[in-house]
Amino acid sequence: MVKIAVFGDYESIKGYAAVGMNAIPCEDPSTAREQFKTLTSGDYGIIYVTEELAVLLAEEIANLDDKFLPAVIPIPGVKNNNGIGISRLKASVEKAVGSDIIFNK
């Protein structure tokens, strides 16, 4: 039995708490790394991260990509969205196929 976490700025994540996910607010990007570390070692199966923070945590997230759990999924927040979710998919296609044949249309 694992839980779902949503990690991001308060404005973006307060809605997820209402539907039962664990919203963990992070207002200060400088502490994001440490907070994320405690999250990944915690009892979470999925960690949704706002795109704004996902950029900061790119390295940590990449390290978790081939682990079984947790699944770290970038989601758009209310501000500073940068499309890292889609660009991660592109990177994954490039890794597997060798060149981007899905998005490069």
């Binding site: 404005e11 039962g20 990509d65 759990l69 209310v78 998919l89 597997a96």
Partner: protein, 223 residues
């Protein structure tokens, strides 16, 4: 020609031949694994892309409802409304094996099973935009889980495909040619040894025959 550093003996030759058969068989198996993984991956990544686009759009929509709700309500009352959520979500994690890649399958359990029982506030003091936002979020939840599932699967499969491809290439372009070259080198060396010893024997025989004839000439009585 790259050859392995081995002694050119018959025993090494048999050993290498055996290794070559294993390598060829392994290469074929790994190639099949790579192709099948790739097929499934491409299928999944298309689903993943579509799902992500949908989820991103709907999150943006839900966020816009929240923004509108916070426009109508004061920040304090909005926070109070969301402060103590009624609903809780737990995941049961199962494992699916795709071509020896283990991927998680999420099964969700919620504390309240009734979808209309998730609002953690009284309706009197809140705006309908907030209801709409929460409703939207709730409807989005299954698809967000599906997204997490497929995205994890594609990530893990991408890693596995890369690994398998490296192995296939290493076998195809390094290991197998090396074994073939070494086997050829040993065979050639053994044949060469064979030829040289045969030539030596013939030479010795010639010398012996010559000597016998010589003896016979000098001493015709003896055979």
């Amino acid at each position: 020609m790259a050859v392995l550093n081995v002694n050119p003996t018959r025993m090494e030759l048999t050993r290498l031949k055996k290794q070559l058969t294993t390598a060829v068989r392994g290469h074929k198996l790994l190639k099949d694994k790579r192709d099948e993984l790739m097929r499934q991956y491409l299928e999944l990544i298309r689903v993943n892309r579509k799902l992500r686009e949908e989820v991103e759009n709907e999150i943006a929509e839900a966020n816009s409802y929240f923004v509108r709700a916070s426009g109508v309500m004061s920040k304090e009352s909005l926070d109070v409304a969301l402060l103590c959520p009624k609903q809780e979500v737990y995941l049961e994690v199962d494992t699916k094996n795709v071509m020896s890649v283990e991927i998680p399958v999420f099964d969700v359990t919620t504390r309240t099973s009734d979808n209309s029982d998730i609002y953690s506030y009284g309706f009197a003091s809140t705006s309908f935009e907030l209801d709409a936002a929460i409703d939207k979020m709730n409807a989005l939840l299954p698809r967000m889980l599906k997204l997490a599932e497929t995205e994890k699967a594609t990530q893990r499969m991408a890693v596995e495909i890369e690994k398998t491809r490296r192995r296939v290439n290493a076998l195809e372009h390094v290991m197998i040619p090396r074994y073939r070259d070494t086997i050829r080198m040993i065979t050639e060396k053994l044949e060469e040894n064979d030829r040289s010893s045969r030539a030596r024997l013939m030479k010795v025989k010639d010398m012996m025959v010559k000597q016998t004839i010589e003896n016979h000439k000098n001493n015709p009585d003896t055979i």
